[in-house]
Every structure is written in structure tokens, then in C-alpha cells.
């Protein structure tokens, strides 16, 4: 399969605060604004971020990668549980208390006594078999690690912010006054209370996102995917993760649980056609979702049979 590049428009549906701390933002913005354009370009290429005009906030491409990864982990694990196959993702499998974070404990060195202890956990989860004192890996790396990478395993995808990477994004500063003692004046600013100031990217902002698949790595069928082309599995999983993000369960940046950071990731028309071609589905979101579920389910059944 030739190189696949997918283009999406990320639309902020609510005000969105990024996860960057002020000091880091300031340092990077100083490098960008106060330096020669060539240097600024190099910084952008290195970090793949989008600056937000004069506010000290930045959006990194890696934030989108992290978001897609977390949503992918959730959808793969939920599908596996729904099918009665047990755990399918390393961040949900408890290997010596490592639950909650991606932790690719495989491959195991059978010569190492410490590592041999983990064998039982992986065998019970049907992730490995032992044949002739050799380990057969059924679910290694797990699907999200196969797509987004793990220690020692290069990512199949590259996520970048497209277009003019330093284009300013409009923000609004919100100043919130809270009663700290009920019964005081409703005009809180008259009570000289310290307000909570939030500066957020405006709803309706569009950020251009590119997801490209490394074609040379995709040849590693068996390691990355067992039932289909690894790019097909990657596209299917990322598509399903995007649906979960668009539903509102996963969000971008800080203050998520305050109703902020809700985004929608929409494929451009040519990308929708490209996804339908890669997955072998009709070019409609419903048909693509159905096909993507079939691909993911088949892969999970093969890995965890």
C-alpha cells in the first residue's frame, strides 16, 4: 500500500485551554517570535505546534497524538471486552501493578528469572503461548502500541499540524467571579474578590491536522497486524477513536471536566474517499464506521482466540 496521508479539520466546539504550562509556552514563543525565520521554522518542524496569538498558549501536534492514542486504547479495550476476549491493551493489563499507563512489558527474556514471572500473566490473558520453550506472541505489540509506537517500536503514524503552523488562533479571556461567602453583594467585583481568569481558544476555531502512515514500517505484517494490512488496521482504529472523541468522551487540553475542550475531528472530502478506499467501504461515515468495526473485531478475534 502506498503512503497514506489523511487530512482533518479539528473544530473546537467549546472554549479550549491547552495543557501547556506558561513557562514552557513562553520559552518556545520567545524562540519563535524573537528569532530568525529559519530558526523559527526549525522549531515548528521539531515541535509541530500552533501558536495562539500573544497569549502564551500553544497547541502541540503531540497533544492530538496523545488524545487519539488514549481514545484508541479505550475503544480497542471496550470492543475486546464486548466480544468476551478479555484485555487487549497493555495499559489495562495488570503486569506487576503497571495498570493505568501504556506499559509494553513484552518481549520477555525467558533466561531472566524476574521476567519469567510475567509469563503467567500474559499466558492467562492469551497474549502469548509457549511452544518448544519459545514464546509465540499473539498480541504483541497490542493494537494501540502497534499504531502509536512503544519503547523500541517506532510509531506507524506521524501526526502534524498542517498549513501555516504559526498562524495565530483567536482566543478570549474569561474573568470569573465567584461568591466565597454567600449573602454578599451579587456584584462580586465590588467585593474585591480575586477573579479566576481563563484564556481559551474560541469555539469554532479550525485547526488543520495531518495523519500520515509510514509505508515502509507497514510492511511488517504479523508484528503490526495479523488479519489485514497494518495501515488498514491503523486507519480503522483511528477512525473509531475519532468517533469516540467526537461523541464527547475524550477532550483536548486542560479543564476537560468543566465542559471545555470538546472538539470535533472532521475528515476532508478527499480524506473520506481515501479512508473508504483503504478500508474497502462506501464513502459515508456510517459505512466506514461499520467496516472499521469489522476490521478491528476480526483482528482482536485472531489475536486473542
Amino acid at each position: 500500500m502506498s503512503e497514506v496521508k489523511l487530512h482533518f479539520d479539528v473544530v473546537t466546539k467549546t472554549p479550549t485551554l491547552t495543557g501547556e504550562d506558561a513557562k514552557t509556552s513562553q520559552a518556545i514563543l520567545t524562540m519563535l517570535i524573537g528569532s530568525h525565520m529559519k530558526k523559527a521554522k526549525a522549531v515548528v518542524q521539531q515541535y509541530g505546534f500552533l501558536s495562539i496569538d500573544k497569549t502564551g498558549f500553544i497547541v502541540r501536534a503531540s497533544s492530538f497524538k496523545g488524545l487519539l492514542r488514549v481514545a484508541s486504547e479505550y475503544i480497542v479495550e471496550l470492543k475486546s471486552i464486548e466480544l468476551g476476549l478479555g484485555h487487549a491493551v497493555c495499559s489495562f493489563l495488570d503486569v506487576e501493578g503497571s495498570i493505568g499507563f501504556p506499559s509494553c512489558a513484552l518481549p520477555i527474556d525467558l533466561e531472566n528469572n524476574e521476567q519469567r514471572k510475567k509469563v503467567e500473566v500474559f499466558m492467562k490473558a492469551k497474549w502469548i503461548n509457549i511452544q518448544d520453550d519459545k514464546i509465540v506472541y499473539n498480541n504483541y505489540p497490542c493494537i494501540p502500541c502497534a499504531i502509536f509506537g512503544a519503547p523500541g517500536l517506532k510509531s506507524l503514524v506521524r501526526i502534524s499540524l498542517n498549513g501555516d503552523a504559526v498562524a495565530p488562533v483567536e482566543t478570549t479571556q474569561y474573568k470569573l467571579y465567584f461568591f466565597n461567602e454567600l449573602g454578599r453583594s451579587k456584584h462580586l467585583h465590588e467585593n474585591k474578590l480575586k477573579p479566576l481568569i481563563l484564556e481559551a481558544i474560541n469555539p469554532g476555531t479550525i485547526i488543520s491536522l495531518e495523519i500520515s502512515f509510514a509505508s515502509n514500517l507497514a510492511k511488517l505484517r504479523g508484528l503490526r497486524a495479523k488479519t489485514c494490512d497494518p495501515i488498514q488496521l491503523g486507519v480503522a482504529t483511528i477512525w473509531l477513536a475519532i468517533q469516540l472523541i467526537n461523541s464527547g468522551f475524550f477532550r483536548l487540553g486542560r479543564f476537560k471536566s468543566r465542559g471545555l475542550g470538546r472538539i470535533e475531528i472532521n475528515p476532508r472530502e478527499d480524506t473520506l474517499k481515501m479512508i473508504s478506499k483503504v478500508l474497502g467501504a462506501k464513502p459515508s461515515p456510517e459505512a466506514i464506521t461499520k467496516k472499521a468495526i469489522t476490521i478491528l473485531e476480526n483482528e482482536l478475534k485472531e489475536r486473542l482466540k
Binding site: 472554549p15 479495550e77 479571556q173 474569561y174 470569573l176 461568591f179 481568569i197 464527547g248 477532550r251 465542559g259
Partner: protein, 196 residues
Amino acid sequence: MEKIFNKGQMMAKDKRKSRNQHITNVLTLLKESAKDGKIQLSVLIYNPYRLMNTIRNYVDAHPLKNNMSYADEGQLTAWLLKGVFRYIFLYMSFEDSQWRYLFGSSVQGETFGSCAYFDILSGEEVKRVLQTLKLLLPPKKSTALEKTKNKIKMEWRYLILYIKDFPISQSAMASDMVKKACKELRLELVDELRFP
């Protein structure tokens, strides 16, 4: 609201000592349920108008620049709901106060994200969310989902709570605690769904 706030503040002072224990309790339950493969996604749909009216009386918000009008009330309700819920759990009872950490902890060493997120959405948007989830993770009874969709009025606004759900006891889920808190806030439950 005043009663909740005042009692909640009083309880917050009393609970300071048990704070770390409460965080550990919730984190342990979260990890155990992930380990046991008992995670679900729950959606609770409420009529938010009463709460929005109450919150309007207690909060003043306005943007500083861009000449924007007052922040959208629905958005503002969602912004503040997390804080309101924390007080509600403190207000409810001694045992229930630990569930304030269902909305995450930023304590160093035991940091974890919130299990619940909020939005005030139009009926049309709620239907779209349900349709996407139906395709993605069909609930056990798909007829229930159709019934929910029929209850949603396109022109209304709804408070929608998304919960990464898990069992907190033999008979209760995290979403049950959130429902209990919503009942204290006298929010009217329109419907609830669990996926898968």
C-alpha cells in the same frame, strides 16, 4: 444552593485529614475495575434549566476582550458543574464525600483524570451523539436507545454527562453516585444509557 455551599465548605474543612485516604479509595477502585475488565461508558441526560437558573444567581462571568457578550449560560453551567458536584458530594454524607474524586485528583503521586465530563447540548446534538455511540458500541438493549432518542426534543437544551463508568460496590456504579448527586441538585433525569 446556599445550604449545599455552606455545609459543603464546613465538611471540606472536616475532610481535609481523610482527603488522601479518599483519593486512594477512588484510585484503587478505578484500577481494580480496569483490571477486572468492568469498564463501561455511561451517558446521563438531564433537563438543565432549573440548575442554570440557580447558577445564574451565584456567578458573574464576562469576557475581558473581543467585545463578546456574557459567556453562554449553558457553557457556564458546564464550566461550574464540576465544582458544584464536589460540594454536593461533601454535602451528602460522610461516606459519600469520597466520590468528589470521581472528578479526578491533582495530588502529586496520585494524579488521575476525571471520570465525568459535561456538556449542554441541543436536542439535535444529543441525538447525533447517541447515533454515533450506537454504531460504535451498541448498548445491550438497542430498543432502549431508540426510546431515548424519541424522548429528546430537537429545540430543547440538555445537560449531558459522559461517564467512564466502573463498579464502586457490588451493587452500584460510579454513574449511580453521579445520579444520586444530580437528585440532590433536583435535576430532572430524561434518560440514561450504558455502552456496551
